[in-house]
Amino acid sequence: MVMTLHEATRRAAARQELCTRVKALLVERLALNVDPNSIGDDQPLFGRGLELDSIDTLELAMAVEDTFGVTVTDDDTHSLLSLNRLVDHIEGARA
C-alpha cells in the first residue's frame, strides 16, 4: 500500500515525538547528566554512546514498561543497542 504524503508526515511527527519522550525518560530515570536534546536518534546507549552499564538495562526496561506498557525481555537486548532501536521496539510492540 502506498503511503500518502500526509500519512508519511504524520508518522514522522509521531516518531519524532516518541524519540523525544524516550530521551527524556532516559535522562530522568537513569539520572543522566546530559541534556535530552543533545542525545542523537542513532546514539548508542552503551559504550561510547550514553555509557550506560548492564545494571542500567534493568532500570531502562522497567521505565519503558511503566511508561509505554511495552515489555523488554532478555530476548530483546538488540533493542537496547541504540535509541532508534529502542524506539523501533516500542513502536513495534504498540502497533
Partner: protein, 164 residues
C-alpha cells in the same frame, strides 16, 4: 501484680535454620531471624530482632547504639534472596527449602533509599520485600523496614541471582 499476656510470637513460615539453607550468609552477617510470610518468587516478610549484644552495635556507636541503615538495606537484600531461593527450591524439590544458597548473587544497586527513623536495641524490625521485573540475572526489588507501625526505611534494589 497482674501480668499481661504477651502477644503470641508471629508464626514462622521459615525458621532461622530454614533460612540458613537458602542463604550463604553466616554470623555476623546472617541477619534475618524468621520469615513470617512468603510467596516464592514474588514477596516475603521477615523479622529481625535488634539486641544490645549485636556485635555491630559495639562500634556503631559506643555510648549511642544505633542499628546501621546499611544493614536494613542488607536485610531487604537477604529477604530478596529468600524469595528467589525458595522459588528455586520449590521448582527443584516441591519444598520451600532446599540447599540453594549457591544461587545467591550480589547486591547490584541501591536506589532511593530513605532512612526515616533510627532503629535501637530492643526494636523488632519487620522487613518486607517484593520482587519486580527481571532482566538477565538482575532482579528489581522494592523493600521496606518498619518497627511497630513506624516505617523506618524504604529502598529499591537490584540484586543478582546466579545460574545453578
Amino acid at each position: 501484680m497482674t501480668t499481661q499476656p504477651s502477644a503470641p510470637p508471629t508464626e514462622a513460615v521459615l525458621g532461622a535454620d530454614d533460612i540458613a539453607r537458602l542463604l550463604p550468609h553466616r554470623y555476623p552477617f546472617f541477619l534475618l531471624d524468621r520469615v513470617t510470610a512468603l510467596d516464592p518468587g514474588t514477596s516475603a516478610e521477615a523479622i529481625k530482632n535488634v539486641t544490645a549484644s549485636d556485635a555491630v552495635l559495639a562500634g556503631h556507636f559506643p555510648g549511642r547504639m544505633l542499628y546501621p541503615g546499611v544493614l536494613l538495606v542488607e536485610c531487604v537484600a537477604q529477604l530478596a534472596a529468600v524469595i528467589y531461593g525458595s522459588a528455586a527450591a520449590r521448582s527443584a524439590t516441591g519444598e520451600l527449602v532446599a540447599d540453594v544458597a549457591d544461587r545467591v548473587g550480589y547486591l547490584a544497586e541501591i536506589r532511593q533509599a530513605k532512612f526515616l527513623k533510627p532503629v535501637l536495641p530492643g526494636d523488632q524490625i519487620t522487613v518486607r520485600a517484593h520482587s519486580g521485573p527481571r532482566f538477565g540475572g538482575l532482579i528489581s526489588v522494592t523493600g521496606q523496614a518498619s518497627v511497630g507501625r513506624e516505617l523506618v526505611m524504604t529502598a529499591r534494589l537490584a540484586v543478582t541471582e546466579l545460574a545453578p
